[in-house]
């Protein structure tokens, strides 16, 4: 009966300009300065490690992803970049590649692809690498003489232990916790990134800029990083004041993976709560657990396990933080079955 070419669709007939693909790629763009800084600080090795991890992720998504076009949504790219940024510069490339593949396959695709996963896939990849290659992932080579010299043993053959013939250096966190002569790294070094550490662990400033850009675009829920910082600062400040911990609260915020984790890992929309109230619970848990692991745990760093643990709790947080229905006091309406 239609005598025009018009299309009949359901309302609303207009849509916001935002799209999932735009969100994903803007995250990628905001990471560019962080990646550039890691190359500036660590040389070509940084680029190689990131490329290997990205390659692992993209290839796995291409081979096993649920839809053929799923590479274009940018989510596999983000996982690859983020995983790469959590690795030390001298990390063997085959391990980075394997970690990316594992993270994608077992962190995401096995759950059903984009939007279905429980855990942050980049952190699943890193947790796997931490368990499989505990030495390689905690070896931070000392600064090389020339910028272009490759660090560590990037080209170690698969299943061969990497040979580290250069001197190793300690990260600010490792130094303070396990060092023979513990010192608190000056805040300026932490802020601008002139310290040892994993690729994306060093420059708080650039991560802050990228994170603020995303928050301004509405592509990142700022409640999450803020709640993490508030809780980590408060909890570590309390322990520091009581003399239980040797970590000053500001050092806690700007060292290790705290910045990258708070702005880029914890804010993964798929694996974080849906309400702002839930995001505060989630962020508080991450901050608290990170401080506890850093002070009492067997590892120098606790951001990764804190986020993964809180990821697992997200369904419960969502249930506990449902919005209050308009025109009600907030208590759930009693079901008819209960009354019967």
């Amino acid at each position: 009966m239609t005598d025009t070419n018009v299309k009949i669709t359901a309302s609303p007939h207009v849509r916001s300009a935002d799209s999932t693909i735009k969100i994903m790629w803007s995250v990628v763009i905001s990471l560019v300065p962080v990646i550039a800084a890691s190359i500036y600080f660590f040389g070509p090795s940084a680029l190689l490690v990131i490329l290997a991890s990205v390659a692992g992720c993209l290839l796995t998504e291409r081979l096993f992803g649920s839809t053929p076009g799923s590479l274009a949504d940018g989510s596999a790219m983000i996982t690859g970049l983020l995983l790469g940024l959590t690795l030390p510069p001298g990390f063997p490339l085959w391990m980075a590649f394997l970690g990316g593949g594992f993270g994608m396959a077992f962190g995401k695709i096995i759950f059903g692809g984009l939007g279905q996963n429980i855990f942050n896939p980049a952190l699943v990849g890193r947790a796997f690498l931490q368990a499989a290659f505990p030495v390689a992932i905690t070896t931070w080579p000392a600064k090389t003489q020339h910028w272009w010299t490759l660090q560590g043993d990037n080209f170690a053959l698969p299943f061969m232990s990497p040979v580290v013939d250069t001197a190793t250096s300690a990260t600010p966190l490792g130094n303070l916790k396990f060092g023979d002569d513990p010192v608190v790294t000056p805040m300026v070094d932490l802020f601008f990134g002139t310290t040892g550490g994993s690729l994306g662990e060093t420059s708080a400033l650039l991560i802050l800029i990228g994170g603020l850009y995303l928050a301004w675009r509405g592509h990142l829920n700022w409640h999450i990083p803020l709640s993490i910082f508030v809780s980590a600062f408060a909890v570590s400040g309390l322990f520091y004041a009581l003399g239980i911990s040797q970590f000053p609260p500001l050092f806690m915020l700007f060292s290790g993976g705290m910045m990258l984790g708070a702005f880029y890992m914890a804010t993964d929309m798929v694996t974080s709560p849906v309400t702002n109230k839930g995001c505060w619970m989630f962020g508080f848990g991450i901050g608290f657990l990170t401080v506890v692991i850093r002070i009492w745990g067997g590892l120098p760093e606790g951001v990764m396990y804190s986020i993964l643990l809180m990821n697992a709790l997200v369904p419960f947080i969502n249930r506990a933080s449902q919005p209050r229905l308009f025109g009600t006091s907030g208590k759930k309406k009693k079901k008819k079955e209960d009354a019967a």
Binding site: M1, S11, V274, L325
Partner: protein
């Protein structure tokens, strides 16, 4: 500057009101034929009083209300009844409708009906006169006005809220009513206040219509207690519950009507038409309709007789552009898509929106990434993310019991913000339909 009053959450779709807001409303020429469905809106269908061949004058009653929540149908043009047959309705169904061949030689003078001065009518009889004139709410749902003017005795109304928000993008018909007939709006307010037996009234107008706010302030009479309240520009500010929240600061209880907290909301155009009933005796047979969008060549505001076919409106407005993509009755957020150009314009049609390809770009549906933007948009604090999952799984009963589907007013805010283009409000509308079909357990 103090923050303007509003409600929590909501969305900011591009307004696009400047296409027609400056164009004065003009009378639309009478078409060759008008189609008047016996069921135009919420409530029982009316009963036809004419048969094929009958001569009718403009304004004659041709079908009478059947039941309390029902509304009288009037001839919107003089002519002869051609037939009573099933005809496509804007809601997508076929509805028994009276077809009138318009008499081209008629002067189209409205038959004068004797009406008393409203000042002389008893409070309880005012709503009867309004019912006789076939007045319905012109805000969108077209709920018969006389029903609203008789609130339940145990819930007395204390405040009359006049809705001049017009929060739907593109539409400017209410805007034009406020600019062109402010004294009629005030007269309608006087009548409504008398019918309700109250004295206080607030007119809520979104701040994107400063000329309307200015006009209403300038023409404000001294004999009634009325406040003009500019409101923040945010969709859906014009929804009853949102307007009440913004002005009174109170929430209408879930599942209840505004009268539960002593409020009554009436649209500005409805108020102006109520006044017209008592001034001229004329029933509701036409209204200002915005014809707009980048898909129509000559947009404007027109006083169109009900029953005019969509085809005639498009033709008179210069026709569709090359890239016209969608035709919508109503606004872009809640309006109904039309595919058949024979459907008639009805009382509930506040606008005819013709969107170009550029304006309604459709994108592929992506998986939900649980970003939570829909929860931040929902004006009644539902969880559209969870509701979407339940609707997709066809778990309709749980949608009602666990996710409060009945509180959803299908405003479309969740669908609008969804970055994955998930048609949430469409799913919710479908779920509501499915639930009506299910046998009550």
């Amino acid at each position: 500057m103090k923050e303007l009053l509003s409600f929590k959450h909501g969305v900011h779709p591009p307004e696009n009101k400047d296409i027609t807001s400056g164009i004065a409303s003009k009378r639309f020429p009478f078409p060759k034929e008008v189609i008047l469905p016996l069921s135009q809106h919420i409530g029982s269908p009316a009963k036809a009083l004419v048969k094929p061949g009958d001569r009718v004058e403009r304004g004659d009653v041709i079908a009478e209300a059947a039941g309390f929540i029902s509304s009288t149908v009037h001839a919107t043009a003089a002519g002869s009844v051609k037939s009573i047959e099933l005809w496509p309705h804007p809601n997508g169904t076929m509805v028994p409708s009276i077809r009138i061949a318009v008499d081209p030689s008629s002067s189209q003078m409205r038959r004068t009906r004797m009406v008393p001065r409203w000042q002389d009518v008893k409070e309880e009889d005012l709503s009867k006169e309004i019912a006789k004139a076939g007045i319905v709410g012109l805000g969108g749902a077209a709920f018969p006005s006389h029903v609203k003017l008789c609130p339940p005795k145990d819930q007395p109304v204390e405040l009359l809220l006049i809705n001049g928000c017009e929060c739907e993008p593109y539409l400017t018909s209410d805007h034009r009513v406020m600019l062109e007939q402010p004294e009629m709006v005030y007269e309608g307010i006087r009548i409504a206040l008398k019918a309700l037996g109250i004295t206080r009234c607030v007119i809520g107008i979104e701040a994107n219509k400063p000329d309307a706010i200015e006009m209403m302030r300038k023409t404000k009479p001294d004999d009634i207690d009325v406040t003009i309240q500019p409101l923040k520009v945010k969709y859906p500010q014009g929804a009853e519950k949102m307007l009440i929240k913004a002005v009174m600061g109170r929430e209408v209880p879930s599942g209840a009507l505004p009268s539960a907290i002593g409020a009554m909301v009436q649209n500005v155009a409805t108020a102006a038409n109520v006044a017209a009933v008592f001034q001229t005796g004329h029933p509701l047979i036409e209204r200002i309709i915005t014809v707009t969008g980048r898909g129509i060549r000559k947009p404007g505001n027109w006083k169109i007789p009900f029953g005019t076919k969509l085809r005639d409106v498009i033709e008179h407005c210069g026709g569709l552009t090359e890239d016209a993509e969608e035709i919508v009755f109503g606004g872009p957020m809640m309006g109904q898509g039309q595919g058949n150009l024979d459907v008639p314009v009805l009382k509930a049609t506040g606008g005819i929106l013709i969107l170009s390809k550029e304006e309604c770009k459709r994108q592929d549906i992506m998986p939900c990434i649980r970003c939570g933007k829909c929860l931040e948009a929902c004006p009644v604090f539902l969880n559209p993310q969870l509701m979407g999952a339940l609707a997709k799984a066809e778990r309709y009963e749980e949608l009602v019991s666990d996710a409060n589907l009945n509180d959803c007013m299908l405003c479309g805010s969740c669908s609008f913000v969804c970055p994955s283009n998930i048609p949430l409000s469409q799913w919710f509308a479908m779920s509501k339909t499915q639930l009506r079909r299910l046998p009550a357990s």
